[in-house]
Amino acid sequence: MTIDKNTTMIKVENLTKQFKLPHERHSSLKSTLLNFNKRSYETFTALSDINFEVKKGEFFGIVGRNGSGKSTLLKLLAEIYTPTSGKVDVKGKLTPFIELGVGFNPELTGRENVFLNGAILGLTQKEVEEKYDQIVEFSELEKFMDQKLKNYSSGMQVRLAFSISIQAHNEILLIDEVLAVGDANFQRKCYQVFKDIKKQGKTVIFVTHDMGAVQDFCDRAMMIEDSKVVMIGKPREVAVRYEVANSSQANAGSNDGMAKSLRPQNPAVTVDSISLVGSKDETKPYRINQKDAFKIKIDYTVTEQTEIQFNLFLTNQEGRYLCGINTTESLIKFNPKKGKHTIICSYEAGQLPKGEYTPGAAVYTYCKYPSKETPILIDSFDSAYDVTLPILKIVDDPTYHSGQFNVRADWTA
């Protein structure tokens, strides 16, 4: 199939959408008659003067914060809303992935719902009949098609809905991030399908918050802020702009007294500090070569003797948990007396790919109920709280090859 990259599939010109928000909704005849001449509504501009074009075969991303007007734009493209002024010109048939399974009825069988949903998505009966087998095959629900939808699990319903939409096979797809809600596996499958669709030369409009996805899939992206287009460009540049806009907003928020979470008050065991053994300046990242070892020290105070366990973990710079290790795995019984204590954990640096890490710790005790082994959190000391933590900087060693994880191996010839 040859794709003429120059065909414009979607052309939006000077698009403005306003909503009239009545102060007092007149849904009865009397109040409307009484207030006939009063203009008691507010005009809310959801989108103002939007211009852009999408060419055939493009994967076009739309990003923006909540309330920026993304969803309104999508609904205008899908012809659900009528523009207040300006033009939306869409060439060819369009499948909206704004919400899956619209019109699905739990009292109908899977098969009947395929035909109903297909018709709602703009397929003729003949088209649904032709695509029926593919839809069923894609959804992997062959055995359930003659059962009522109410007996499907929610996952099965989503699968069926997704299969119908995907098989609608129109030239243009509008995808809202709603789709990205499923589990990771389903998301991956969706994205794979979108990639395939892109290969077939179909045009995709993709609305998302996920800058990773924008950079992975989109050819171009557009950022909307406060009802206006602020940028159209390469996905990477748009993603950077979006992150900057977002973080400046977040910082503004933290100045307003958005304090970090509070640590537990007066626990039986308190973590006082976490430090890297050998580090001289705690404010600077401590460099460790991958072929070396390093030690993390936890200082803690026991005010009430109890059987405890420590969990020492590493997070990345964004605070995401990466890996952790418990004391129970090497210290069978751990029951320190009242007073100040220190516990040290030794690591081999070669287990970690190069990069910067922050350690964090948590103390648990055991609860006898419901079973003896139920751990209960006493105290935690990590980046979620307002505490000082050291930074660990693992540097490359030529004998290690960093990827998703490290492999250290020896060759023999």
């Binding site: 009239k20 849904s27 009865s28 619209v102 009825n105 109903l116 397929l123 009966q125």
Partner: protein, 271 residues
């Protein structure tokens, strides 16, 4: 104008699916299923027959009064069902309209059509009943019957279009329409023969005859039940008596289509 009535294959598929779904769901979980929609008018007929034959014998002079009454009830049931279902069609399908771009007019068509299918099935029962009671069919005029059925269907469609669009904005129209239907039920010669009024008040007979439902009902009875039926053409000037109800049906339909098309853009925001 009539182009607006013509629908493309996508709309046709949607229409079909909506009607089929409606039928499947209407008697979901009931054992007698479709028979309920037959049973309802038959029950009403039974009650009214007992009342107006034995208690207030209004139908005394009318030949084949049972068939006469049943035909009236079935036609009226259709009009009530089609307009009431049509009224709530757009609001009831709000979930759909807000999420996909669907042909809104198909949703109203579907309501009227599913009432229409019920109507035709009920008509089969009426015909069986008529044959059993040995009515006087004016065979030469039977070809007019489909035209009369089309007239009542279009009248109901036009009304449903206007009501469904109004109901989106003004929820008052559900009770308003209910009251209007009640008034119309008595203003249409359904449970009484028109001759009964004609004998007493000529003016009232003329007013009643202006109602297109009266014209349709009386014409159907004249052809299918007994030639002695007093039709609106006997009451009003002949030419006017044909032009007026047909004209009114066309006006209702045209106004319905125009108003619906004008309003349908705003349904999403007003729902």
């Amino acid at each position: 104008m009539l182009n607006k009535l013509r629908i493309n294959s996508v709309q046709r598929s949607l229409l079909k699916q909506l009607v089929v779904t409606d039928f499947k769901l209407r008697y979901q979980g009931s054992i007698l299923g479709y028979f309920w929609s037959l049973f309802k008018p038959l029950m009403m007929f039974g009650v009214l027959y007992v009342v107006f034959t034995y208690i207030i014998p209004t139908g005394k002079g009318v030949p084949h009064f049972p068939a006469y009454l049943l035909l009236g009830i079935v036609v009226w049931t259709f009009f009530t069902e089609a307009t009431t279902m049509g009224l709530g069609a757009i609001v009831g399908r709000g979930d759909l309209i807000k999420k996909v771009s669907v042909s809104k007019i198909s949703i109203v068509f579907a309501s009227v059509l599913s009432a229409g299918i019920n109507f035709l099935l009920n008509m089969v029962i009426v015909i069986i009943f008529m044959i059993a009671s040995g009515v006087d069919i004016t065979w030469i005029m039977v070809p007019l019957v489909p035209l009369l059925l089309v007239e009542v269907i279009l009248l109901a469609l036009g009304t449903a279009l206007i009501l469904s669009a109004l109901y989106v904005k003004f929820r008052d129209f559900a009770p308003i329409w209910e009251i209007i239907l009640q008034v119309m039920f008595y203003a249409t010669p359904i449970i009484y023969p028109l001759t009964l009024i004609a004998a007493a008040h000529h003016k009232i007979t003329e007013v009643i005859s202006l109602n297109p439902m009266a014209q349709i009902m009386q014409d159907l009875r004249r052809i299918l039940v007994t030639p002695s039926t007093l039709t609106t053409h006997d009451v009003l000037p002949v030419l006017f008596s044909y032009a007026q109800p047909i004209g009114l049906t066309i006006i209702v339909l045209v106004v319905g289509l125009l108003y619906f098309n004008k309003r349908s853009k705003y349904f999403v925001e007003e729902l």
